[in-house]
Amino acid sequence: MRVILKTRPRAKPRIPIEAETIIPQNFLRKNDIRVYEGNKERKLEDLFFITVEGPAVSPDQVEVILTGDTGVIKRVGEYMNAGRIIVEGDIGMHCGNFMSAGEIIIRGNADSWLAREMRGGFIRCEGDAGHYCAAGYRGEKRGMRGGTVEVLGNAGDFAAEYLSGGEVHIHGSCGDLPGVEMRGGTLTIGGDCLRPCGNMTGGICRIFGTAHQFLPTFRKNGTEDVQYGGKHYRMAAFRGDIANRGKGRVLIRA
């Protein structure tokens, strides 16, 4: 089954839409789907032109395609556990929150908190991701716990904060403090970043560009050879964050 949701023109287009109900399993049951526009509850059809093509008997046969002015739609794919969502343009905050299985493809940019506390599945953002990509909610002790997030562009600050499991791959550069408080999982940064892995206690971070202002509290621990993008690299290895009795590993291109 393919569900195409095209945004309708709105009088106040900058008011965010909260749409945690846009997940494949909901379209299978054909429930009365509601979303919020600011403080008003709306029917899905009030805000989207909806086209449904073909049948499905299980959620993993459902593909949802979002198109139009989608950059302010938040929480798409929250608690998603099967199927696929394709966003033709940009997507708003919290896309893929707590997702456990399935696939989300974003052709444009993703706003902050992409894959927040994700547990499984796959997300690919073909543009840039905002701040707190694959991180946790405020005060939460664990961020992303499983699955894979791939960002083909750059990510903002605090990428993979509290990363606890799974794999985050930023092909471009990251902003400030990627991998801060990291405790497990793998973070790969293809480009540059600033102050990576502050206060980390576990996990592996690999940086193939320049790590600016690298923190003084990591202990040099030899070199390692790794493969990345079909090439072979020699990496300087560090352990830390010593300030936090940490046992994480940071590999930076030598």
Partner: protein, 429 residues
């Protein structure tokens, strides 16, 4: 008439020993206050009545008409924002939170541009704090990090730290060691025993290094970090570890420089590390006199200290998403109520521009930068001068401010209660 034990409603110190001379409904003299307090009490020139913008000019309207119009604007909005609150008393803040819930609005206070990151850090790792009385009576080491109390909290040093003799610190000026950490020399750094001049954005690295040093990992520290020598960091760590009681006070230099809440978290974790050696505490230097109160009131009603979004009927909090600067910069909100604050002066330009685009209502005694962006302004009494109410000092101690004379202006509480009643009636709840 002289009124004694007056509470100063200007900064988070909430000094409660002022003597204010009043002539009918005018303050004519202030004793014990700093220059900021004098200006607050003596330079009080108010807007006379509610005003409303029509085209490019302003016209006077009655309080009743202004309240009606304010309520109607908020009822019509799909994403109203209620911002400010730090310059008014707890009772008015409480009505504000209930109003936000009724409207399905976002309510936020000035922490969003000051110590919001401190609260986020406290939510992650807790707060080993204490009252200012503890500091005054016990602390022999004081650290001001990214704060300049002589300019921003002029009586902090004389009432609680450097110059304040305490029960266990009989000759404070000689017995207390003061460490100042800042990116530039300030009046406060001039009186410090140790001044750590850190490069901009270098606080996080310095804090991490100090934590490692306190943990005994001195061999790891490179000769220089963010412009600070290793020897100075060793010296400062030794002063802190040898203290009988140490107190760190931090300001916006830490909360609003790169790293934000992570800087504060690192400072809290340094404090925890120091507590393995001695007694150490950490406290934010809160700015507005009742900004701490706004965090208290918001928290006891909603569970969250600022940036609370009621759009879905329940409280949701996420700084970066539900904070006023972010909402305004993204152009999300379609009406704004500003109470006891001046975002027109403090917010980035893009936010001010959005305030000017949407209906903005201001409840404030004075004409300020936000007036020029607003469509409606309702003048009120000044809490601590002609209105009374509860405020929280920077260390979380509630203090009742006093009313010095009966003025002619309604208080924030009266105006907000009337707006609330009208909204409630319209919503039929």
């Amino acid at each position: 008439m002289k009124v004694e034990d007056v509470v100063c409603p200007f900064c988070g110190c909430l000094c409660d020993d002022l003597v204010v001379e009043v002539d009918q409904n005018r303050v004519i003299g202030v004793e014990n206050g700093c220059t900021l307090a004098n200006e607050k009490f003596m330079g009080d020139r108010r807007l006379e009545n509610p005003i409303r913008k029509e085209g490019r000019s302003w016209s006077d309207i009655t309080y009743d008409a202004a309240i009606r119009e304010a309520a109607d604007i908020l009822i019509d909005a799909d994403r109203p924002l209620l911002y400010g609150w730090s310059g008014t008393h707890g009772e008015a803040q409480s009505v504000g939170v209930h109003l936000a819930e009724l409207l399905g609005a976002v309510i936020d206070n000035t922490s969003t541009v000051c110590h919001g990151p401190s609260i986020m850090a406290i939510q992650e790792v807790g707060h080993p704090g204490c009252t200012l009385g503890q500091v005054k009576n016990r602390a022999d080491v004081i650290v001001y990090w990214g704060a300049n109390p002589i300019d921003a909290h002029p009586r902090h040093m004389s009432r609680y730290t450097t110059y304040a003799d305490g029960f266990f610190v009989k000759e404070a000026f000689k017995e207390r060691k003061v460490i100042v950490v800042d990116v530039r020399k300030t009046e406060s750094s001039a009186v410090a025993d140790e001044f750590i001049k850190v490069e901009r954005g270098g606080d996080y690295a310095i804090l991490s290094a100090l934590r490692a040093i306190v943990r005994g990992k001195r061999d790891l520290i490179p000769p220089k970090i963010a412009g600070v020598t290793r020897e100075q960091l060793f010296r400062v760590a030794d002063i802190c570890m040898q203290a009988k009681f140490g107190a760190i006070f931090f300001g916006l230099g830490l909360t609003m420089s790169p790293g934000k809440n992570k800087n504060v978290r690192n400072a809290i974790e340094l404090t925890e590390e120091l507590n393995r050696h001695t007694k150490f505490t950490i406290s934010p230097m809160r700015g507005h006199w009742n900004v701490y109160g706004s965090n208290e009131v918001f928290t006891w009603i909603t569970g969250y200290p600022y940036a609370v979004d009621f759009a879905r009927g329940i409280a949701f909090y996420n700084p970066g998403e539900t904070t006023s600067v972010d909402i305004l910069r993204r152009g999300e909100c379609d009406a704004c109520l500003v109470v006891a604050s001046d975002p027109g002066a403090h917010f980035p330009r893009a936010c001010a521009e959005h305030l000017a685009r949407i209906p903005t209502i201001q409840i404030d005694p004075h004409v300020n930068a936000t007036t020029h962006l607003a469509t409606l302004q309702i003048p009120v009494a000044v809490t601590g001068i002609d209105a009374e109410g509860t405020a929280y000092r920077m260390d979380g101690v509630p203090i009742r401010t006093r009313k010095l004379f009966d003025g002619t202006y309604p208080s924030d509480l009266e105006i907000l209660s009337k707006i609330y009643a009208r909204v409630k009636e319209a919503k039929g709840s």
